[in-house]
């Protein structure tokens, strides 16, 4: 009898242990400073993903830990260190900013954790510094501006002036547009990041250059500032603006509130749009709007994808988190339902995916949003893949 009770007790303990089994995910994003608006959007998307998954990946409960990078590389690295050392997470995901990802990647990868970027895609991480445990749920930085360069060619733009912030992503964006744009570059200004928000000197130079078009990359609040100063300078007709990652679902409601109609009709390239026609995207956009009352941004879309990418890995190994090879192979196959539709991974674990031209329009309900104009690239691979020694 005693034995029986003992066995029963042991069995209960085992089941309770199995119940306690969980997958720990750390998500590093920006939760303070003005850039917290992006982090909050990502946080909302991750929480929505958890809701859609019933807070479970396979048979494991999800233990999610958000961490703040404070918009600074050093703080982001500290947050990553804490996640891998103190919390001992299985996956580190997130990273809006390229400089934060570059500062943090070693902490996560050296500890043998999977690192999933939900936004940043600096060149080194795709090339020489690629790693078998790194996966991108977004893009390589250069790809989106490369698509924009192609749009410029198609639009017959002959000469271009470039203004971008002077940090890792800004340099990648400039390299990207220069790689595909066939016309002449009349000037490039790299501005102080993230403190410079007044672009009067740069706009005056761009105007004086007499270029056919102006290309910029200003994520977050700098983008809103640039768009306003561009309008105030009255350059819309003489110097058409081409942007990447500058106008997004976070800035559009603000522009609409301020009745800033110049932004309607502006075009930019991206791998995703809320109108993309697939089941995962429809559910994501509809439920995000119902839950949070606004359109999701591309930051949110990628954060949502990153959770489903991790889920596909956990399910492929039936919750055996020691099977790194199995999880890696599962993620490499990109067999999860992505909101951007199907894509594949290159040898450097960067997506090979479509890029679309998006345009700002008034949505059916009166809210400003975007639609897809056309597909610019199909199954586009970044140019750093050849520098990556992975097979």
């Amino acid at each position: 009898m005693k034995k029986l009770i003992g066995a029963a007790l042991a069995a209960t303990m085992l089941t309770s242990l199995a119940h306690a089994a969980e997958v720990k995910i750390g998500f590093v994003t920006t939760l303070t400073t003005g850039a917290a608006v992006i982090g909050k959007d990502q946080q909302n998307a991750v929480n929505l993903a958890m809701k859609h998954m019933g807070n479970k990946m396979g048979n494991l409960d999800v233990n999610l830990i958000f961490a703040d990078d404070g918009f600074k590389p050093e703080t982001g690295k500290q947050a990553t260190d804490k996640l891998v050392k103190q919390d001992d997470v299985d996956f580190v995901a997130g990273y809006i900013w390229s400089n934060v990802l570059l500062a943090s990647r070693k902490s996560a990868l050296d500890a043998g954790k999977f690192l999933i970027s939900a936004n940043a895609g600096p060149g080194p991480v795709a090339g020489k510094l690629c790693n078998e445990n790194f996966f991108s749920a977004s893009w390589q930085n250069d790809q989106t501006p490369m698509a924009m360069g192609e749009v410029l060619n198609q639009n017959g733009v002959k000469s271009l002036y470039i203004i971008a912030p002077n940090y890792a992503a800004g340099k990648g964006m400039v390299a990207g547009v220069k790689a595909t744009f066939k016309g002449e570059i009349l000037g490039t200004d790299m501005t102080k990041w993230p403190s410079q928000l007044d672009f009067s000197a740069e706009l005056a130079k761009a105007k004086a250059s007499g270029a056919d078009g102006l290309f910029i990359f200003y994520p977050g609040k700098a983008g809103g500032a640039f768009m306003k100063q561009y309008q105030q300078a009255g350059l819309k007709d003489s110097l058409p603006l081409y942007t990447v990652f500058t106008v997004d679902a976070l800035s559009l409601p603000k522009f609409q509130a301020a009745n800033f109609t110049d932004v309607l009709g502006s075009q930019f390239t991206q791998q995703w749009d809320p109108t993309l026609d697939n089941e995962q995207n429809k559910r994501f956009v509809a439920d995000f709007r119902a839950e949070y009352g606004s359109y999701p941004s591309f930051y949110a879309a990628q954060a949502y994808d990153s959770m489903f990418l991790i889920k596909s890995a956990v399910e492929a190994v039936n919750g055996d988190l020691t099977d790194m090879d199995g999880m890696r192979a599962a993620m490499k196959s990109a067999s999860y339902p992505s909101v951007r539709g199907e894509y594949t991974y290159g040898n450097n674990h960067m997506p090979i995916q479509n890029f679309y031209l998006r345009e700002v329009v008034v949505g059916p309900d009166g809210n400003w949003t975007t639609k897809v104009v056309k597909t610019v690239f199909e199954a586009h691979q970044d140019s750093y893949a050849k520098d990556c020694p992975l097979k």
Binding site: G34, A36, V37, S195, D198, A201, E202, A204, G224, A257
Partner: protein
């Protein structure tokens, strides 16, 4: 050399300088007269921007919103003086720094709670949203001209206030010997509170003026406060004239550096290296100026005579 472009860039520099002056004048008054290091001065600039932005949406008129937001920001400054600053006057500078650094965190978080993290884009009335062609090719946004006019007007007003009014005389007297002033029956506490509120209004005005160009956002104060300290150190702490000249100087150096340094560097190095070096060096230039001034004239370019 394209002189039209040079002219436009000089105007841009002057405009940036005048905005800096609005923030620096309040800081230099408080630092010079109250001997109080106020790191949170930039946060008052942010609070002013947010109040102005909210009122713009509420009233539907930017200029009216600024006029109403100014006294409100002054009241915020007055409250800060009564609740926080006054208790710190007798302590040393390190306590000022610690106390006002705490205030920065409190004000940033309060703004986050009240207005949310996303910031507010401020619309301009149509007549300010256009451009003015001063002469052939020199097209300036109308709003930037308004900033220049406002900045010059405020500078003139302050000059008159400090030098030709009874209040200004008391301010100057309080700065040189506060014990004597209070012995003569002047309520020095109220005087200091008034100076603090005036400084807050000036910083708030700068925040309101910049928000249609950038936006009202959390942490905007942190970006301007460092440059503002550079301005008052270069100009001489406590000197209104010094703050004015140093602010214009720094506005010009910053703008012209951004505008022309790259081209200058290209004369002596290849384009790629110039493109990388120019933004780094132009970001450093105002600090190089400050270091040079500190080495040659540690008291600043125009130190007040009373000290």
């Amino acid at each position: 050399m394209d002189y039209t472009l040079l002219f436009v860039q000089v105007l841009n520099g002057v405009q940036l300088g005048l905005l800096l002056f609005l923030v620096a004048s309040g800081l230099t008054l408080v630092f010079g007269i109250l001997d109080f290091v106020n790191l949170a001065h930039g946060s008052i600039y942010m609070v002013g921007a947010f109040i102005g932005a909210s009122l713009t949406f509420y009233l539907g008129n930017f200029l009216l919103a600024v006029l109403i937001a100014l006294p409100i920001t002054g009241l915020v400054g007055y409250a800060i003086e009564r609740l926080v600053a006054r208790n710190l006057y007798d302590k040393d500078h390190l306590d000022h720094v610690l106390g006002t650094f705490g205030l920065i965190l409190v004000l940033n978080t309060s703004a986050h709670l009240i207005w949310g993290p996303e910031g507010i884009a401020v619309p301009l009335p149509a007549w300010l949203d256009g451009q003015v062609e001063l002469f052939e090719g020199a097209v300036i946004p109308t709003y930037r001209l308004l900033i220049i006019a406002t900045g010059l007007g405020v500078a003139a007003g302050l000059f008159w206030l400090v030098n030709y009014t009874r209040l200004g005389m008391l301010i100057r007297a309080g700065a040189s010997n506060r014990t004597m002033v209070s012995a003569l029956g002047i309520d020095i506490q109220s005087l200091f509170a008034l100076v603090f509120a005036l400084g807050a209004m000036l910083a708030g005005l700068a925040g309101m003026l910049i928000s249609p160009i950038t936006e009202a956002s959390i942490g905007m104060g942190g970006q301007i406060i460092i440059t503002t300290f550079v301005v008052i150190i270069v100009g001489g702490i406590g000197s209104m004239k010094g703050a004015f000249i140093a602010a214009i100087l720094i506005g010009l150096i910053d703008t012209l550096g951004r505008a022309f340094l790259g081209d200058l560097f290209e004369l002596v190095m290849n384009a790629d290296a110039a493109q990388t070096a120019a933004p780094a060096v132009s970001a450093m230039m105002i600090y190089i100026l400050m270091a040079a001034v500190l080495a040659v004239r540690p008291q600043g370019l125009f130190p007040p005579k009373v000290r």
